[in-house]
């Protein structure tokens, strides 16, 4: 029951990725054409080079035994962490973040490759401890593996890229069989942390008022009282569970502890992130609060997408893009120029291609020969899924502006190579599904 295959590959993923890369190159070209029809950017040529080398990497990695990668994953991970440290010390600042390492024109973004390295290492770690997967310890330990690169990337500071690591963690542990109650505890705490972290900013910027309830979050004394109250509730609930072993005490402590963690986390969140970063993060909720600044990108992108209509304005005919109202067209907002010029149908084509890649990936994951392959595949799928969701959501104005690329389409060598290598690994998993 072998699938149709070329070089023993999943041909659907390969062709979809190829199609997306071609579309990407087309719209990178489009973004480099001025309203007078003059080509002013050679980004598309660079992207062709990266796409061709990327395809070579994809094919190359499809022949590398993933078990070899597992053996080296700790070194790959360590090497990437080292690169991140070097980047922090000697990196180049691009768009406000010290995320680039390189000489002159040639440069890489170590934070991109670290994503894959982190997947490989976390999967290896979880696989090694698969007997204890249902416990809390393994969840916390692998969280530390994730949080090391996240912390280093936050220091650059590049919040978007840092956030992209979180879903990888949940996908791997969820697929690995970790208990949902533990995972959801961290998920809820994390969401609470972000929510409570941005809430004061939302009130201040969007509702233009400071309701007294929010003083609980911003005023130190109130905050301490609130935290204290939650800690006492938690302690009582835990004690209650110890004594009575009743289910509702368990969930009460679960909720109270998640509240404590979220509250504390929000304090850290607000401490680490600058006010303008938080503002950038929430501006998609109401771009009107800063129409010439952070909101500009959202307004122009949504206008570009919305004005595309069913079939779009035609290739190279977009107005928002070619009059250059749309910023960062070749990278962050590549989907916007596509949706403007190819319309809803073009958008659906991109959705379908991504969906094919993701569903086929999940199918490969499900058929994987061993637990490690299974975990790596889940991590890679989670990574691609999250990037697609956040980037396209950002272009449509329903996700925060985080600056993470749309794989295969966005201009940039590092992310393209990284995702090509990831697909190569998936292909290897696919190829080895029957080998024992």
């Amino acid at each position: 029951m072998r699938e149709k295959s070329l070089f023993n590959m999943d041909i659907y993923i390969f062709l979809s990725a190829l199609a997306l890369m071609v579309i990407g190159i087309l719209f990178i070209y489009s973004s480099g054409v001025s309203s007078e029809g003059v080509v002013f950017s050679n980004e598309y040529i660079k992207q062709i080079i990266w796409a061709v080398t990327g395809l070579a990497l994809l094919i190359g990695f499809s022949y590398i035994d993933y078990n070899r990668l597992r053996d080296y994953s700790v070194y790959i991970y360590g090497g990437c962490i080292l690169l991140l440290l070097i980047t922090l010390l000697f990196g180049q600042r691009v768009n406000g973040a010290k995320a680039w390492l390189g000489i002159g024109q040639l440069g890489i973004q170590p934070s991109e490759f670290t994503k894959l390295a982190t997947i490989l290492f976390t999967a290896a770690f979880v696989d090694k401890n698969k007997g204890e997967i249902t416990g809390v310890k393994i969840i916390l330990q692998s969280l530390i593996i994730i949080l090391i690169p996240v912390g280093l990337i936050l220091l650059q500071p590049d919040m978007g890229t840092a956030l992209a690591y979180i879903p990888v963690y949940f996908f791997i542990l969820f697929a690995g069989g970790a208990k949902v109650r533990y995972l959801s505890f961290f998920l809820v705490s994390g969401l609470l942390m972000i929510l409570l972290g941005v809430l004061p900013e939302i009130e201040k910027e969007i509702f233009l008022e400071n309701p007294p309830l929010l003083l609980l979050l911003t005023e130190k004394t109130f905050f301490s009282w609130l935290l204290g109250a939650l800690v006492i509730i938690s302690a009582l609930a835990v004690a209650g569970y110890m004594v009575f072993k009743k289910g509702y005490f368990y969930w009460l402590s679960w909720a109270a502890l998640a509240g404590c963690l979220g509250l504390l986390g929000s304090r850290v969140f607000r401490h680490v992130l600058k006010s303008y970063q938080i503002k950038r993060f929430i501006v998609f909720l109401d771009p009107g609060i800063d129409p010439k600044g952070a909101g500009w990108n959202v307004i122009q992108s949504v206008t570009a997408v919305g004005s595309g209509g069913l079939t779009g304005k035609g290739f190279l005919q977009g107005t928002q893009s070619h009059y250059r109202f749309l910023p960062q067209q070749s990278t962050d907002f590549i989907f916007s120029i596509l949706a403007e010029e190819w319309g809803f149908l073009g958008g659906l084509v991109v959705f379908t291609l991504f969906l094919i890649i993701l569903i086929r990936s999940m199918s490969i994951v499900y058929q994987a020969k061993d637990n490690y392959a299974y975990l790596v595949g889940a991590g890679i799928t989670g990574m691609i899924f999250f990037h697609t969701l956040v980037n396209i959501g950002m272009a449509m104005g329903i996700m925060p502006i985080t600056g993470i690329p749309l794989f295969f389409l966005s201009y940039g060598g590092s992310s393209l190579w990284m995702v090509a290598v990831s697909l190569g690994i998936l292909q290897n998993i696919y190829a080895r599904r029957f080998s024992y």
């Binding site: 996908f171 069989g177 009059y323 999940m362 637990n371 396209i392």
Partner: protein, 624 residues
């Protein structure tokens, strides 16, 4: 499945988790597809119009201002010559670079840096609107900026024709000038369609008829890119500008020039009026200013400098200054005496050179007295004693005030120029209110010879004479004769004469006054001055004390021809020379030349040549 190394339980659990992830992925994409559908299909039209709007700029195309002609309608007095205005869009320039930009601009435009800082202040730095730095910039300067445009970020330019005044002499008081609209003006005028960077008439006809002259600005819709650069040609929705209407004045520029030169460099004014319609043929006020200097130099600096001139060149003395009418007021006194028959005009009064009234002595200008005079002789000789007696003993102040009002004194004439003064006709009630003292007999003595509190503008005196000429009616003086279409020249509106004052005074009274006025020229005070043989002049001199030695207000109010049945031929001339000038009794002399020039159709130069042997011109030459 067993052989994959998973237990049966974990395999089932794994399946569930696998399905959960598939569902998550599929559901997310479905939601996104639906949202994309709602964005692009459901609300697509709204975003399409938003996309068009964001790239659309509405640019106002300034309308050309109408031209102004004199009554001959041959060559314009004012026209627009092509020129440019340089603008800066402050928000397009980084704040730190603005001072450098201003320095460069100041250098290339040859203006001071401060003047740029004055126009673009820090509170404007965030504006995306173009702010004008200088207008009246030549094409050459624009070329030099365009060649180095990368050094001038945010700098743009546009057509802004300069208002060019071809006749720069005394017409400035009639025409006025234009200036840039200020923020304060704009607050008031915004609802009338004025916009930033618009021109606004500041004085004269330019101000009075601004709405007619300015036309209507057009609108151009442009598609621009994010930097505001235009990326499309003109669209079908563009509304072309409407050129302002042309004005044809009642002024005859030949008469205007004649009057201007006849007055010469003497502070004063000349009014020439057509009594049968109210058309103003000449309106001269000295000193005047050159309206073109507002173009070549900053409006503000020029205005400041001219306003500090002690001779007040902005003052249009023909309508904005009022003086005691002096002996020219005796025309009104004479009319009153004749009309109300308070004194037999043939009965004589003996002038002994002075008269005592109360505890004061009022003297006549002939110290030893005129001897016995009847009314006609008294007007001709301008005998003060005779009119003191008329005023105090026969007319009384109430009647004098009443007749002054009937002639239109103390009220504006309604000339179509801004800022006309109404002068003052004093009355006992007025003095009571203003000075809180009683009207004294001495006040009546003073008003009887046109002195004291009484004050009139030269235009009012001209219109009072018009009342006499027309024998009981005068018209609102006006300056704009026609409004014409700027392209076809078709007359769109013609000003019809409108009656200003109608008087119940008998025609026979006016005829008698006219006769006496002729006597002033033939036998009276003006006998040696009004020497023209071109026309029979009738008039009245006026020489008023100005309170200091050897300085008099000099008036001459007259009309010609003396006895004509053709109303079209008649003109009224009023010359007023202020006492600050060296005393040379210039008013009747200027009037003499003016009448001669008008009725022979000669220029000032031709007149002075023809009359060169006349004593007053010889004297003038000798002095020079």
């Amino acid at each position: 499945m067993e052989d994959k190394g998973f237990s049966a339980k974990s395999s089932a659990d794994r399946r569930k988790r696998f399905i959960a992830l598939i569902v998550l992925i599929a559901a997310s994409f479905s939601v996104y597809a639906v949202y994309l559908f709602s964005l692009q299909i459901v609300n697509g039209l709204e975003y399409q119009s938003r996309a068009t709007q964001v790239a659309r700029r509405v640019v106002s195309i300034p309308a050309a201002r109408g031209e102004i002609y004199d009554r001959n309608y041959d060559v314009p007095l004012v026209l627009n010559i092509p020129s440019f205005a340089v603008d800066v869009i402050p928000a397009e320039v980084p704040r730190t670079e603005l001072p450098i930009l201003f320095t460069r601009l100041a250098e290339i435009l040859e203006i001071s840096e401060e003047s740029i800082h004055d126009k673009i202040r820090p509170e404007h730095y965030h504006l995306y609107q173009p702010m004008e730095v200088l207008s009246g910039v030549s094409f050459g300067t624009i070329t030099r900026i365009a060649e180095r445009i990368e050094e001038f970020p945010g700098v743009t330019w546009r057509d802004k024709p300069i208002r060019s005044y071809l006749e720069t002499g005394s017409l400035s008081h009639v025409l006025g000038y234009v200036g840039n609209i200020t923020s304060e003006d704009l607050q008031v005028l915004y609802n009338q369609g004025y916009e930033r960077n618009a021109l606004l008439g500041r004085m004269g006809i330019e101000k009075q008829y601004d709405q007619v002259l300015r036309g209507k600005d057009g609108v151009s819709f442009k598609t621009v890119d994010v930097k505001g650069r235009s990326v499309s040609q003109e669209s079908a929705e563009d509304i072309p500008p409407e050129t302002g209407k042309n004005l044809v004045l009642t002024i005859d520029r030949h008469i205007q020039t004649l009057c201007e030169k006849a007055l010469g460099e003497r502070i004063g004014s000349v009014v020439v009026l057509k009594p049968s319609t109210g058309e103003v043929l000449a309106l001269v006020s000295y000193p005047y200013y050159d309206p073109n200097i507002f173009n070549t130099r900053g409006e503000y600096e020029t205005y400041k400098e001219l306003s500090l001139d002690s001779r007040f060149p902005f003052l249009n003395r023909a309508i904005q200054a009022s003086y005691p009418p002096a002996s020219s007021f005796k025309l009104i006194m004479t009319t009153a005496v004749l009309e109300d028959e308070v004194f037999n005009p043939e009965k004589k009064i003996n002038c002994e050179g002075q008269i005592r009234y109360g505890d004061r002595t009022f003297s006549c200008h002939v110290k030893h007295g005129h001897g016995p005079l009847n009314l006609g002789e008294a007007l001709a000789q301008s005998c003060n004693v005779f009119f003191y007696t008329m005023g105090t003993e026969y007319l009384g102040v109430e009647r004098i005030v009443d007749f002054s009002r009937r002639f239109g004194l103390g009220q504006i004439t309604g000339l179509d120029l801004p800022g006309e003064k109404k002068g003052l006709v004093p009355s006992p009630q007025w003095k009571e209110e203003v000075y809180n003292t009683h009207w004294l007999g001495g006040d009546t003595v003073n008003i009887s010879i046109g002195q004291g509190y009484l004050s009139v503008t030269p235009l009012q005196m001209a219109n009072a004479v018009a009342m006499i000429v027309n024998e009981g009616v005068n018209y609102r003086p006006f300056l704009v004769k026609e409004v014409r279409d700027p392209v076809t020249g078709e007359v769109l509106k013609e000003t019809e004469p409108t009656v200003l004052h109608t008087s119940s005074i008998r025609e026979s009274t006016f005829q008698k006054v006219k006769e006496y006025m002729r006597g002033v020229i033939t036998e009276g005070t003006a006998r040696y001055v009004i020497l023209t043989d071109a026309v029979e002049v009738a008039g009245k001199t006026g020489t008023g004390e100005a309170g200091f030695e050897e300085s008099w207000n000099s008036w001459f109010v007259a009309y010609a021809p003396y006895d004509s049945n053709d109303p079209d031929e008649q003109i009224v001339v009023v010359v007023q020379v202020e006492p600050v000038n060296q005393w040379e009794w210039w008013a009747p002399k200027a009037a003499d030349m003016i009448f001669h020039g008008i009725f022979t159709g000669q220029t000032y130069e031709e007149v002075t040549e023809e009359l060169k042997n006349v004593w007053y011109l010889r004297e003038l030459r000798e002095r020079e």
